[in-house]
Subunit: 274 residues, 4 copies
Amino acid sequence: MDSSNNWRERLYVMIFQSDTPAGRRFDGILLVIILASLVIVMLDSIDSIHRNYADVLAYIEWGFTAIFLGEYILRLYCSPKPLRYAFSFYGLVDLLAIVPGILALYYSDAQYLLIIRIIRMLRIFRVLKLSPYLKQANYLMSALRGSKQKIVVFLVSVCTLVTVFGTLMYVIEGPEHGFTSIPKGIYWAIVTLTTVGFGDIVPKTPLGQVISSLVMITGYSIIAVPTGIFTAELANAMRGEQLQHDCPGCQKKTHEQSAAFCSRCGSQLFKKVE
Amino acid sequence: MDSSNNWRERLYVMIFQSDTPAGRRFDGILLVIILASLVIVMLDSIDSIHRNYADVLAYIEWGFTAIFLGEYILRLYCSPKPLRYAFSFYGLVDLLAIVPGILALYYSDAQYLLIIRIIRMLRIFRVLKLSPYLKQANYLMSALRGSKQKIVVFLVSVCTLVTVFGTLMYVIEGPEHGFTSIPKGIYWAIVTLTTVGFGDIVPKTPLGQVISSLVMITGYSIIAVPTGIFTAELANAMRGEQLQHDCPGCQKKTHEQSAAFCSRCGSQLFKKVE
Amino acid sequence: MDSSNNWRERLYVMIFQSDTPAGRRFDGILLVIILASLVIVMLDSIDSIHRNYADVLAYIEWGFTAIFLGEYILRLYCSPKPLRYAFSFYGLVDLLAIVPGILALYYSDAQYLLIIRIIRMLRIFRVLKLSPYLKQANYLMSALRGSKQKIVVFLVSVCTLVTVFGTLMYVIEGPEHGFTSIPKGIYWAIVTLTTVGFGDIVPKTPLGQVISSLVMITGYSIIAVPTGIFTAELANAMRGEQLQHDCPGCQKKTHEQSAAFCSRCGSQLFKKVE
Amino acid sequence: MDSSNNWRERLYVMIFQSDTPAGRRFDGILLVIILASLVIVMLDSIDSIHRNYADVLAYIEWGFTAIFLGEYILRLYCSPKPLRYAFSFYGLVDLLAIVPGILALYYSDAQYLLIIRIIRMLRIFRVLKLSPYLKQANYLMSALRGSKQKIVVFLVSVCTLVTVFGTLMYVIEGPEHGFTSIPKGIYWAIVTLTTVGFGDIVPKTPLGQVISSLVMITGYSIIAVPTGIFTAELANAMRGEQLQHDCPGCQKKTHEQSAAFCSRCGSQLFKKVE
């Protein structure tokens, strides 16, 4: 019993943690398997491959599903609090990586193909297991969080702009030039304002082209706004903003970066060392 | 009389202000109605929906117009200075949200359809009621205002560039490759410089492609200019929440918000007035 | 004689300078005429207008040419050093604004139309008279000049990249997919790297699409480089970099922005004012 | 013997170094030849030129190969450590610039044309000889290196995004609208997210256009991330030409390049060693 517990604990360290060589090796192998299963999904979506190797690929996919199922059971088994794991974000993602594969076993009829395609797509969530690698992203995330409010304002302005411009273009160009409805006009406005410019819908009338020019120059200019927000926020985060030092006179704790005297009581903050 | 005045005042607080629960609820409901009316306008513009549900949608639109009319009258009624409201920016926008709906009642003949479409477009102004949400945008606006002059210079340079390049391309490529006139050439230059690139007009001659490459690299590079201007300005604005006061000792110009002494030379910033 | 000189001088002030009301009015009117002549050139390039109003437009153009010729002679007449003006940048631009109009008088045969189009294009240089407005651009120009070297390095890297990628795509895709030559491949690479994306030439082979993805992500990422260079340079220019103050101990003239003590001799830079 | 050594040494200085007039002249001429050989390769790829001048161009190419071969032998001859040169980066690039030309002599049969095209492409590596010009790029490179980790995180997020969006679009739009497989969907997602927008594959269904709009706005917004990272890093690098030393009095970490005393507390930074 004791040795079993011991074994479970060692398994837990290997599977859940990545600071032992065994843990790192386990994570590495798992990642390769996830990537391989992703590649199989992608290959299966290519028509010429699907026609010739559909069976083989299906078997391989079932194999991967079995492996992930085994891994999930192992995780449940060795976890000290299985329920807590099962309902954690990673636990749910692990489950989502298995379910579609099992469902595909039962509903493989031609008429359900469409549904299976959607289920299959869920398999992409396996890639989210890559998220441990994203841990170093915290720094960027905090800069993004700092500028969240400004970004919302920016996105609302962009939405207003594309709605106004999309309606305007629908009225000016009309269905005969591809602007078949206001939502289509808004879609066009987004394509244009973000400087993507597919070219599937293009203005044909002179007035439409003038408005388009306006949209494009606007889009070209206001890209400066999210960039400016994020850059200023990141530069702020990277610069240590304030000097931490207790003032000998009044105990004020934070001062301007380069303060020599306390701005509250005028005391010299640092003694000259001779 | 007194109680009527009292009621009017409470209505005023509810409708015009948003710092009471009733006021917030009123604004929230109004916003939902505005959004719903917008969605109806958009749905009506989709051909397949218009053909089947034109009548229903028209009734709903009239309903919305009635609601907005009622709201407008209420605003006029409870406002202490009705004329001032009527001619304020918001008053005019509120009016513009109603007029097209009423006009649509009288002129629904087939031949006026085109005009009605333009009037209908005005209904989009209702969305501008979202502007209270944009109040937090003041910060960004001040940064934009600070960089206005530089942005005008930038836009003028861009206009000069597209005019020169547009004419050049008209001369080089000519009508047989889609550059049917100088304005069309300028339109192409804007599409290209802003990196939108619809692809409806593309250079065919080698020399035209060389000039195009020049335009594209220019556009790709000078995007740095508005971005740089805005970022520097915003960083300034974010740093600039500072006390502006010349230190009597060292002429240091900016200080911590609540500074009493200069952090560089320790001088008292302000004389005590006895 | 004296009064004639006086008159010439007043004319000089009005025409060449813009700090008197008369001078400002003259410049304003000139600008409107230049713009009008530009509009005429543009209108004439539109086929439907040219067919109906070619004669009228030609007369108007000759009128503008006459006005600009008169202006040029006046400038030469009232200038104290006519030759110096004639060979200055503005003098040459003024001349270039007239010459094509006069040439168009003699060579209006159908077979020379193509040549005239090129001459006509030169008339666009009149717009460069707008350049006084660009004077406020000095600030931006100095930031651009400061980052010139880095921008050259950036442009050279971009050129190397597009050459390598263009050749690679020519080899992979080949003439059957529109990549008819290496220069065409390079043109495509520029279109793609600058995120313009006309779509006139697109990769068809899987390998070509992989390389394209690489080019696109590269182009999407390295846009950060010119932006970063310019922003950092502009932020630097806008921040006064150094403190100008003579050290009482060693006469060192410039110090760190927030220095309280001289970094060379340790003297306190500013006396505390009590 | 001695004079031969002397001659070899002078040759070495001329060929390998560029701080003598002869060395600069040699490098300049070499650069022009490299550029000319590049132009020849490009011209040869243009079909109309190839058909008429294939022989002449082939001779010229052989000539260039001979020149580069001669240069390579000279470099080996005058280098004090020939092997070290041969296996250095530049030595290998020099060799790669010759080999394809020699291979082209033997395999010029029609059926090997395809292979020769790939070999010919290697000739582009000659352009990498331009790299000495890139030496001033070190500054930019260090900023890039400083932000490497953040850029990797950014690229990984972009890859995740395009995989998810590409699969989603494959499921929604399907093969009938050009999304023939998941890799194709990912290719489309990259084209769209990077705001390139070729327009060869475009969403046709309403839901697909909604997802597209999301991808475009995402791509339009997150361009701010690499720009922000690089700008903040570069601004840091430009500010960072500072003396790194902890002040004994106040722990201030960075000082003016030549500081002897701390500018905040006046303490002597370094102890005099007697």
